[in-house]
Amino acid sequence: MALTLEQVKQIAYLARIGIGDEDAARYTHDLSSILDFVAQMDAVDTTDIEPMAHPLDLPQRLRPDEVTEENQREKFLAIAPAVENGLYLVPKVIE
């Protein structure tokens, strides 16, 4: 299935990956050939087959709603690209 350049740009925007025109052309080619490849799946009739989301069909485990983690705020903030007064810094969002 052939994607258009515009579709690829839109997908990249949804994934929040900036791509230039040259990259977009290359990805249009690559993604289209991957989609052609995976289209082999259409050869099999899968009506009434239950989708398998996970190798072990186990329910999610439950646990008591208790605090088990210690607070490591300083340690976590220490590896952030930009912090100030104990807060993560990002460009201004609200004018």
Partner: protein, 483 residues
């Protein structure tokens, strides 16, 4: 010392024929001497290694410690190590010192092992040749013009060249088994849920599984014993007792039935077929019976995988936003620019390709045609295996279609690269355990035999591999340049 197996090293340490410090220094020296050629390590941790070794020697002098106490090993750089840079082979995490240890790292440290460093890998484990790493390709010790396989290419090359006696790997579509085959070592991908994924940087969460890579099945058994087991921190970890893998190794194989999937042998390269014929002859001498089986839907495993894995990847990798840790672009204009450029600059081409495919497959209007369809095919593939295991105890086939290919040979063609995992991917879709065991050479390059087991039958797989390794010496061969 670098030619010995873990069992032999453990015995030497226990008898105090050499200290853990001497052993560790030997491997650090070999890394310094050879890693310029191989590029298997992203980070070497000599100070940490010698400190670990000294602690192990104190215990060993007192006659304490377990079978792995004082044994040096290296971690794939996908496992978080507290305070030690963990890159996942990506620029995105070039400056990331995790604030905690992965469960696998903590368990192996608890067992007394020594950390030599962190091993090179394809970026976010997405690749089959180690060529997508931000830190450059790893070279195959058997032929340095060839790839070591991927994504655990650094792990396989380092073990094969004797830069570490053992390593950890992870396997999402063959990333332990394929590099193990290409580098002539033994690698085990456990049943999904057997080894905790906590602190193992996520690629495709329903497929990822960590496991051991070493010289022999016996060594893999020793490592798996320490790595496996329930972990409440991983919601997909299975709460089920861990058997004694070492005790199972020597079990008699008479009466064992091994299935030969027709689809694995149909278009097999004649040289590879010959290697497998020879391995089967060994097994027949050990009393194994072979039986043809069929896995009719297995031909769709690569297409289904390249919908499921990228879909999960696009979701998992959404967390890299340049805010809390990792790479951030310079001087973002606004928040959107911060996301767009951080992710454009921080991720490499293959990772972006997969994020884009996954984003598309999960987007409104396409979900049923791609993701749901792939999950249905996943069920058909898992059912194929389930039927086969009603008749046989294990399956045998090739690990890869060919021996290691040349650097650059497949980088221009994503699909050719994806197809190099054609024999390994179905095992991840089903969640089964699989191993690659050195079984011979083609044109001077090692190739592997793949053994696939039923759920949680790692003990049986290790047993089948170990009995073969008692009769053969493929796993003891060393690449001449690094002997």
């Amino acid at each position: 010392m670098h030619t010995k197996t873990l069992a032999e090293l453990a015995q030497g340490l226990k008898r105090r024929e050499f200290s853990s410090r001497e052993l560790t220094q030997h491997f650090l020296d070999r890394i310094r001497r050879h890693d310029g050629t191989l590029n298997a390590f992203i980070t070497v941790t000599p100070e940490r290694a010698l400190a670990d070794a000294d602690a192990a020697d104190v215990a060993l002098d007192r006659g304490e410690g377990g079978p792995l106490t004082g044994i040096p090993l290296a971690q794939k750089d996908i496992f978080c190590t507290d305070g030690i840079r963990t890159t996942c082979g990506s620029r995105m995490l070039d400056n990331f010192p995790p604030p905690y240890d992965a469960t696998v790292v903590a368990r192996l440290a608890q067992a007394g092992t020594v950390l030599l460093g962190k091993l090179n890998m394809d970026e976010f484990a997405m690749g089959s040749s180690n060529e997508t790493s931000y830190y450059g390709p790893v070279r195959n010790p058997w032929n340095t013009d060839c790839v070591p396989g991927g994504s655990s290419g650094g792990s396989a090359a380092a073990v094969a060249a004797g830069l570490t006696p053992a390593a950890t790997g992870t396997d999402t579509g063959g990333s332990i088994r394929q590099p193990a085959a290409f580098c002539g070592i033994t690698g085990l991908k456990p049943t999904y849920g057997r080894v905790s994924r906590w602190g193992m940087i996520a690629f495709a969460s329903s497929l990822d599984q960590g496991g051991p890579m070493a010289r022999s099945a016996e060594d893999c058994a020793m490592l798996l014993q320490a790595m496996a087991g329930f972990d409440p921190k991983d919601s997909t970890s299975v709460d089920r007792p861990v058997p004694d893998y070492g005790a199972a190794l020597d079990r008699d194989l008479r009466g064992i039935r091994i299935g030969l999937p027709e689809e694995y042998f149909a278009d097999l390269d004649p040289a590879m077929a010959q290697v497998l014929e020879a391995a089967m002859a060994e097994y027949r001498r050990l009393g194994v019976e072979f039986k043809a089986v069929s896995l009719p839907n297995i031909g769709l495993s690569v297409p289904a995988y390249y919908v499921i894995a990228p879909s999960e990847c696009s979701s998992n990798l959404a967390r890299y936003d340049g805010v809390r840790y990792g790479y951030r672009c310079r001087d973002p204009r606004d928040l959107e620019d911060l996301y767009l450029r951080t992710r454009a600059e921080g991720f490499g081409a293959e990772v972006k390709r997969r994020i884009l495919i996954g984003t598309y497959a999960l987007s409104a209007g396409y979900y049923d045609a791609y993701y749901l369809k792939a999950q249905k095919i996943r069920r058909l593939i898992a059912d194929d295996f389930r039927r086969a295991f009603q008749e046989v105890d294990a399956l045998l086939g090739p690990t890869t279609p060919t021996p290691a290919f040349r650097l650059g040979e497949k980088t221009g063609d994503p699909i050719a690269m994806y197809l190099s995992d054609i024999y390994t991917i179905a095992v991840n879709l089903a969640g089964l355990p699989g191993m690659s065991v050195p079984a011979g050479f083609i044109d001077g390059r090692p190739v592997g035999m793949q053994l696939i087991g039923d759920y949680f039958a790692e003990d049986r797989l290790l047993n089948i591999a170990h009995r073969y390794q008692r009769e053969t010496d493929w796993h003891r061969r060393l690449p001449p340049e690094f002997a």
